[in-house]
């Protein structure tokens, strides 16, 4: 784990692998379960995984309250590290941050991969595009989140105190950034035309948090996007099928830009 200072933020960053730069923005929960995916990516890329401020054991500056703050922070990170032609990958909540970055500036971003991303409102005011994870019974929440919950979910009783604390802080921080409006920015949809980078929208076929149909709508709203469904996977396909998602990203990286 490295520390990178950006303004008043001391960003905690996991670095792995060699090659072209890939910035992976994690989702709201199950951070540790991304390890295998990160290892897969590290075979081809120099993978940079920041822990969002307020998550895990990291500090959140007083003024950091919205996804906009995270978007600017990571745009600053790309500047500070002088990263170019970056492969930007976001999962769930992290995909929302990635979209917010891209509508602002794609100068240093070569390609964008969105995995079961949140952040955009497509339906009407009485339609729930994104399942209310805070109102679902625990069992149903797990069923909607994973294709095989038993394989992905940790045994919380056996966690060390600091590991359990990190998860509690992840969940609190996700609520802080995403509680209302719920996991989306009402203004984001009208700016999606600014995401002027080749984009791969990756979706778990069994995602019950944001259905694949939402991913299709997202693809259609972006200027240059393709869609790939991952079978036998829920909201975090990179956790349940790390090899397949990494392979999809690899193919996308090698594909020609039209």
């Amino acid at each position: 784990m490295e520390r990178i200072a950006i303004g008043e933020v001391s960003l905690e960053v996991l670095m792995a692998g060699e090659g072209p730069p890939l910035l992976f923005l994690h989702g709201g929960d199950y951070f540790q379960q991304n390890r295998q995916f990160i290892e897969e990516l590290a075979r081809h890329w120099r993978v940079i995984v920041p822990r969002h401020p307020g998550f895990g054991a990291t500090e959140r500056p007083e003024g950091f309250r919205t996804v906009h703050d995270l978007a600017y922070l990571y745009l600053d990170l790309l500047d500070r590290q002088d990263l170019r032609n970056v492969m930007l990958v976001g999962s769930s909540f992290g995909g929302w941050i990635a979209l917010e970055m891209c509508v602002r500036c794609v100068e240093r971003i070569g390609r964008l991969a969105l995995i079961d991303t949140l952040g955009v409102k497509f339906g009407g005011r009485e339609e729930r595009d994104i399942a209310d994870i805070y109102a679902l019974p625990a069992e149903e929440l797990l069923r909607r989140t994973f294709f095989e919950p038993g394989r992905a979910v940790p045994d919380y009783a056996r966690l060390a105190e600091d590991e359990a604390m990190a998860i509690a802080r992840d969940r609190a921080a996700t609520a802080l950034y995403g509680w209302r409006p719920y996991m989306h920015n009402p203004g984001l949809r009208q700016w999606l035309h600014r995401v002027r980078v080749p984009t791969l929208v990756v979706w778990g076929e069994n995602d019950g948090i944001v259905a694949p149909d939402y991913g299709e709508k997202l693809r259609r709203s972006l200027p240059d996007a393709e869609f790939e469904l991952i079978r036998r996977a829920g909201h975090y396909p990179q956790i349940e099928c790390p090899g397949e998602v990494a392979d999809a990203l690899g193919r996308f990286a090698r594909s020609e830009v039209l």
Partner: protein, 391 residues
């Protein structure tokens, strides 16, 4: 010692039809407004009677629940401000971290204070975790929003020279100017319910009266002691009138009658924690340390299940709690007037004293006649004796 009669105005007719949640997700078709109207009037009659009995009045509020059909604590207070003439009126209280408009709170409280000619006690509450979903407020910012609203309301009540500006983290106004100003100067006394030493300390720093509810024999002493020592540390004398304790009180001509009343009032304790577990601990509502402990223990409901304890620390299941267990736990004082006073006195000595007894004189299924008998007997036999406790 001041005594206050409290009822949650339960809508108990729906209880038999409710399953594993009495809150948040229950359909309102289970509420019959004709029965509800009768219930409102009887609960208000019981509070109005308190004016004659010398017992002060306390209301509260909860949302989307059949355990408490009072979602606006200032509405019964507005009625009672005019129906009563003598006793004091404690709203405990307004969930100011969940309400979007603190200025409206200042206006409601100021108006009640003026109508009642200065009898309002002004409660600000953070609210139990299951209040988050009905209000859809961000649980991770609740404490911060609570204190900002508190500061704004007090400034709004005490600023007498025209509009001021407030551009805070959570609330934005450019012309704050509350009319009427309160009857009591500079403002009505401020109360807040607390359930832990940490929150007692936050209140002690500001000299706020704390109402301690459902913490019982085991957990209450540390809360009161935290308040007293912090108050002394910041140069405030922690007089007993800064501390309040709530107990479920059933008093009867016979021990059997008093305990039977307490048993019915315990319908409150047996139902108030029944909530669909996903609403019991929204993320960020408690500290990361407390949330981590819940995660390891198998969730918020498991943690809640050990909160009520006997004197020797044995957990009691609140849903099946007997009168004996409730008395042992210090949650209830019940029996003859002598029994009740002896239990009150023992608790009082155990926790180092307090100035306000928040008496749940009605709860659960206790009907109007029984409630009136309970309140009258308390007033006649016990109220004259509490004077020897904190003055």
């Amino acid at each position: 010692m001041q005594v206050w009669h409290f009822s949650e105005m339960a809508y108990h007719p729906a209880w038999p039809q409710l399953g594993e949640s009495y809150r948040v997700i229950i359909p309102s078709r289970l509420y019959d407004p004709k029965i509800g109207a009768d219930l409102y009037h009887r609960y208000l009659d019981e509070w109005a009677l308190c004016d004659e009995l010398g017992i002060n009045i306390m209301t509260n509020e909860h949302h989307a629940t059949a355990t408490c059909s009072d979602p606006v604590c200032t509405i019964p207070m507005a009625i009672l401000a005019r129906e009563t003439k003598k006793v004091r009126l404690l709203a405990l209280g307004m969930p100011i971290g969940n309400r979007s408009d603190p200025i409206r709170v200042a206006e409601e409280y100021a108006m009640i204070d003026v109508i009642s000619r200065g009898r309002l006690e002004m409660g600000f509450v953070k609210g139990v975790p299951f209040e988050i979903s009905p209000a859809n407020t961000n649980p991770a910012e609740l404490t911060e929003r609570f204190w900002e609203a508190h500061d704004l309301i007090l400034k709004a009540m005490t600023s007498l020279d025209g509009p001021f500006n407030w551009e805070g983290t959570h609330f934005h106004y450019r012309q704050v100017n509350v009319w009427p100003r309160p009857y009591q100067q500079p403002h009505p006394p401020v109360w807040t319910p607390v359930g832990s030493p940490e929150s007692a300390i936050e209140a002690a720093v500001r000299g706020i009266v704390i109402g301690v509810l459902n913490t019982g024999w085991v957990r209450t002493p540390a809360i009161f002691e935290a308040y007293r020592s912090k108050a002394r540390e910041v140069g405030r004398e922690p007089t007993p009138d800064r501390l309040a304790y709530m107990a479920l009180i059933g008093v009867g001509e016979t021990r059997e009658e008093g305990r039977r009343r307490a048993d019915q009032i315990l319908g409150y304790s047996r139902t108030s924690g029944i909530v669909a577990p996903q609403f019991a601990n929204p993320p960020g509502y408690v500290s990361p340390r407390a949330a981590a402990q819940m995660l390891k223990a198998g969730g918020a409901m498991a943690a809640r299940a050990t909160r009520v304890q006997t004197k020797d620390g044995r957990p009691i299941n609140p849903r099946t709690m007997s009168v004996d267990e409730a008395i042992d736990a210090g949650l209830s004082f019940a029996g003859t007037p002598d029994d009740v006073f002896a239990q009150l006195r023992a608790f009082y000595d155990h926790v180092g004293g307090f100035g306000h007894l928040l008496m749940m004189g009605q709860g659960g299924l206790l009907n109007h006649e029984e409630t009136v008998a309970n309140l009258k007997l308390f007033s006649k036999e016990i109220l004259p004796r509490v004077g020897v406790l904190a003055k």
